[in-house]
C-alpha cells in the first residue's frame, strides 16, 4: 500500500507534464511558443495578489503575535476536553484556517514531541491533511482577479473548516480512539 502511494506521489507530476506535452505535439500545437505565451502571465498574477496577501498575512501575523490564539485556546479548552480532543491539538484547530505554515509547524511540533503512537499525532495529521488554509486561498484566488467584495465565500470556507474539525475528531475517535 505504502509503495503504491509513494509511486503515485512520485509520478503524478511527470505524468501530467508528459500528457500535456504529448497531446500538444500530436495536435500539432507549437508547444514552446504557446508555453512562453502562457508563462508571461505568471509575473502579472503574482504582482496582482500582493496587496491582498499583505492585508491578510499582516493581520494574521499580528493576531498570532498578540497571543489571542492561545487565549482563545484556553477559553475553549474545557469545552473541547469533553469531546476527547487532546489539549495539544487545540491551537491547531484555530490556526488551521489562518496560516498554512503555522499549522504545519504546530503539527510537526506535536508529531516530534508526542511521537508516532500518540492519538494527538494522528488527529493532528488528519486535521492538517484534510483542509486548506482558507484565508490564504481566499487572498490568492480572489486577489488574482481583484475581487474585494467576497460575499459569503469566507463564511462557507470557515464553516467547512469547522465541519472538518468536528468530523476529524469524530472519525479519529472511531478509528483510533
Amino acid at each position: 500500500m505504502t509503495k503504491i502511494l509513494n509511486l503515485i506521489s512520485l509520478w503524478a507530476l511527470p505524468v501530467l507534464i508528459l500528457l500535456i506535452l504529448f497531446v500538444g505535439m500530436i495536435r500539432k500545437v507549437p508547444v514552446y511558443e504557446e508555453f512562453t505565451k502562457g508563462a508571461k502571465d505568471g509575473f502579472k498574477v503574482a504582482i496582482n495578489i500582493i496587496p491582498y496577501l499583505v492585508a491578510i498575512i499582516v493581520a494574521i501575523s499580528m493576531l498570532r503575535a498578540s497571543g489571542a490564539i492561545e487565549m482563545l485556546a484556553n477559553l475553549l479548552a474545557p469545552l473541547l476536553k469533553s469531546w476527547h480532543m487532546p489539549a495539544d491539538v487545540l491551537p491547531l484547530t484555530i490556526v488551521r484556517s489562518l496560516s498554512g505554515s503555522a499549522a504545519l509547524g504546530v503539527f510537526s511540533d506535536i508529531a516530534n514531541n508526542l511521537g508516532a503512537n500518540s492519538y494527538a499525532t494522528k488527529l493532528a495529521a488528519v486535521m492538517v491533511g484534510s483542509s486548506e488554509t482558507t484565508f490564504y486561498v481566499l487572498a490568492v484566488y480572489f486577489g488574482a482577479v481583484k475581487i474585494s467584495k467576497i460575499r459569503y465565500a469566507l463564511i462557507v470556507g470557515l464553516l467547512a473548516d469547522l465541519v472538518g474539525i468536528i468530523s476529524a475528531v469524530w472519525v479519529c475517535n472511531w478509528m483510533f480512539g
Partner: protein, 216 residues
C-alpha cells in the same frame, strides 16, 4: 471583508497590549508584510511554468475535452456559467491537481479558472455565485493523498503512515460536500453583494468578536 480586516487588527492590538506583547505585534507587521511579498515572489516561477503548460493544454483541446466530460456534474454545480466557457475545464484541471497533491500546479489552474469566471461576472469587484462555490471547493482542500503530512509522519518514524489516508479522505469528503451544499444554499438566500452592504448582517462590535471566535 472590511469588518474582518478591521477586527483582526483591532483585536490583535488590544489583546497584544493586554498580554504585554505589543512589541511582538509591531514586529509582526514588518515580518508579515515581508512574508507576503516573499510568498508572492516565490509563486512567480512556478506560476509561469504552469500557466505555460495550461496554455498548451488549452490549445491542444485537453481543457475542452475535460469540460465536455464533466458537463453533467458542472451543469448542476456551476449553473451560471455559459456552456461555451472554458472555466469548467480549468476547474477540472485545478481539481485534478489538488486531488493528486500537486498544490503548486493547482494554484495557477485555479487562478486561470477564476479569470474565466471573472469574464462572466457582472460586477467585477464582487464575487459571483460560481466564484464563491469554486473558492469553497478549494478551501475545503480535497486531496487524495496528503503528501506533506505523510512526509512529516515518515520523518518521525511513524510505522504505518498510510493509515491516516483513509480517515483524512473521509474528513475531506465530508467538509468538501458541506462546502458545496452550503454554497448552493447561500447562493439562493444571499441577496446582498457584500457583508457591509447588507444591513441585517452588519456586525456590531461584540457580535463581530463572537463570530470570529465561533468560527474556530
Amino acid at each position: 471583508m472590511n469588518y474582518i480586516f478591521f477586527f483582526l487588527i483591532v483585536i490583535s492590538i488590544v489583546i497584544g497590549a493586554i498580554n504585554g506583547k505589543l512589541q511582538e505585534v509591531c514586529n509582526a507587521v514588518m515580518s508579515g508584510a515581508e512574508l507576503s511579498v516573499k510568498v508572492a515572489f516565490s509563486l512567480i516561477g512556478i506560476m509561469a511554468f504552469w500557466l505555460g503548460m495550461m496554455k498548451i493544454a488549452q490549445k491542444s483541446g485537453i481543457i475542452d475535452f475535460l469540460s465536455k466530460i464533466l458537463k453533467p456534474v458542472t451543469k448542476v454545480l456551476f449553473n451560471e456559467i455559459p456552456p461555451e466557457s472554458t472555466a469548467v475545464g480549468d476547474i477540472a484541471m485545478n481539481f485534478t491537481a489538488n486531488a493528486f497533491g500537486l498544490s503548486n500546479a493547482a494554484t495557477p489552474f485555479g487562478i486561470k479558472a477564476m479569470e474565466e469566471l471573472q469574464k462572466e461576472n457582472k460586477d467585477k469587484t464582487s464575487a459571483s455565485n460560481s466564484m464563491c462555490l469554486f473558492l469553497g471547493m478549494n478551501t475545503a482542500g480535497f486531496q487524495l493523498i496528503p503528501t506533506t503530512v505523510l512526509a512529516v509522519l515518515i520523518g518521525i518514524g511513524y510505522e504505518n503512515p498510510t493509515e491516516i489516508i483513509a480517515p483524512t479522505l473521509l474528513v475531506t469528503i465530508i467538509a468538501f460536500t458541506f462546502a458545496v451544499v452550503l454554497s448552493k444554499i447561500l447562493q439562493k438566500v444571499w441577496r446582498g453583494q457584500d457583508l457591509p452592504l447588507t444591513p441585517t448582517l452588519s456586525p456590531q462590535r461584540g457580535e463581530g468578536e463572537n463570530s470570529l471566535g465561533g468560527n474556530e
